[in-house]
């Protein structure tokens, strides 16, 4: 079993590596196309800004590479948002794997702060990714933009309005929260992905 974490110009990549190591999974951090293609599982993590990340991926042909992957792929946070069609963050055309679009939280007069930082409940779970995880489990979120609800939504969270906490289409999965920082339920989700 070979697990790779895609290296690009986004932060928080090592946290995923360490979380995998806690559940006994050895992973490689790489931007090498052949290594990524040959992996059994691919994780596309990231904390950062959408347009500079997309530009980085495009310049290296990594956008086409990610789209063409056949094995299970898990996007985390910015990774998930980049797998969507479009992001309002600097009006960025993204990878288009999920048709859902990424919008900025508009808190209006709710008194809610943007970005959302902290633990929020995840509901309407419908994917083997959430095997053994209860409705209303808490995951750690840090984000100012969200993927709208759509046909690929496999979990929802609520902040300002309901939105996609996780997406799934074919071999592609994405989670808005940080499983690598979400205590036991986070580790369980990573384990579920590795076992897909």
């Amino acid at each position: 079993m070979k697990t790779v974490i895609i290296q690009y110009n986004a932060g928080n990549i090592r946290s995923v590596l360490y979380a995998l190591s806690r559940i006994g999974v050895e992973a490689t951090v790489t931007d090498d196309a052949a290594t990524i293609r040959a992996a059994d599982k691919v994780i596309f993590p990231g904390v950062g800004e959408a347009s500079s990340a997309m530009q980085y991926l495009k310049e290296r042909g990594m956008d086409a590479l990610i789209r063409s992957l056949q094995q299970p792929v898990l996007g985390i946070c910015l990774g998930m948002q980049l797998m969507c069609a479009h992001s309002e963050e600097n009006d960025t055309a993204c990878l288009g794997i999920f048709e859902e679009t990424v919008r900025k939280f508009q808190p209006g007069d709710t008194g809610l702060k943007v970005p959302q930082i902290g633990w929020n409940e995840v509901r309407a779970l419908r994917s083997p990714l959430f095997n053994g995880i209860s409705e209303g489990a808490y995951y750690y979120f840090v984000h100012g933009y969200y993927a709208a609800l759509g046909e690929h939504t496999i979990a929802t969270a609520d902040y300002v309005q309901p939105y996609s906490a996780a997406l799934h289409k074919d071999n592609f999965y994405g989670v808005q929260f940080h499983p690598e920082k979400s205590a036991e339920v986070g580790e369980r989700l990573l384990k579920n992905f590795i076992e897909l």
């Binding site: 932060g11 928080n12 360490y18 902290g118």
Partner: protein, 252 residues
């Protein structure tokens, strides 16, 4: 619903926890990794590690410690204490810290906040402010661990820092710190209502109802405490149960 966060703070000196001498069920009470892992297991929502080492070896021991913490702890953590440059932060983030906190160095060179936010994103830049209510009724910013008074008002500095890119404010009231008489509710509320970013209240938490007060009256997004957790005066699980019964949204 987004929950209110409970954040234990661990003071670190030469790679060891300070004030951490009164624990049970720990093989080594001074090991910050083991203590942090225990808090994480008990339901702490985040951790703050504040390095108070004053030696030249500091950078190396801290980055090694941060790396160990990142390997073993499965919740987010912030590292602070004497951070004064983009390079300092780079090393800590590369070793697995989720956020860093800056204080005196940012006050002396506010552009540091802007540089850090640009380079690493606002989400990992926490501005720590030590503040004291003076006789004139105003809250002033203090530097160097509370030893140096400035003429800057807390509210003005917090606002400026957020404009520069600080993603969270860690607010410590020097009037309340160590008293166990409750948090500084008014200044916490003022900042929380004024700023578009989360405010972490620190200083004065001594009883469970103080946490209710700081989340309701004080409108804090998170509450930080050290000794009451270290000395087991309040357990994290019982605190969170209590807050839930009080109608406050917490992660259980």
């Amino acid at each position: 619903m987004l929950t209110k966060r409970i954040i234990p703070c661990l003071d670190i000196k030469d790679g060891r926890t300070v004030k951490g001498t009164n624990f049970v069920n720990l093989r080594d009470a001074g090991d910050p990794v083991e203590l942090g892992a225990l808090y994480a297991q008990q339901g702490a929502d985040e951790l703050v590690f504040l390095d108070i080492t004053a030696t030249v070896e500091k950078r190396k021991t801290l980055s090694e410690l941060v790396n160990k913490i990142a390997h073993h702890i499965n919740i987010p953590f912030t590292v602070g204490g004497g951070i004064s440059s983009v390079e300092d932060v780079q090393v800590l983030l590369q070793n697995g810290a989720d956020k860093i906190s800056v204080n005196t160095a940012a006050f002396k060179k506010p552009d540091l906040i802007h540089e850090l936010a640009n380079e690493f994103g606002s989400q990992c830049v926490v501005l720590a402010i030590d503040t004291r209510l003076e006789d004139d009724g105003q809250w002033y910013v203090y530097l160097n661990g509370g030893r140096t008074k400035t003429a800057m008002l807390c509210v003005d500095w917090a606002k400026q820092a957020v404009d520069l890119g600080a993603g969270e404010i860690l607010l410590t009231s020097m009037n309340h710190d160590g008293t166990k008489q409750g948090f500084a509710l008014e200044i916490t509320r003022t900042l929380s209502e004024l700023l578009p970013v989360p405010v972490i209240a620190s200083g004065g938490g001594g009883a469970m109802e103080h946490f209710t007060d700081v989340f309701t009256t004080g409108k804090a997004d998170a509450a930080l405490a050290a000794s009451i957790f270290h000395f087991k005066e309040i357990g994290i699980p019982e605190l969170k149960q209590y807050l839930k019964q009080e109608g406050i949204s917490v992660r259980l």
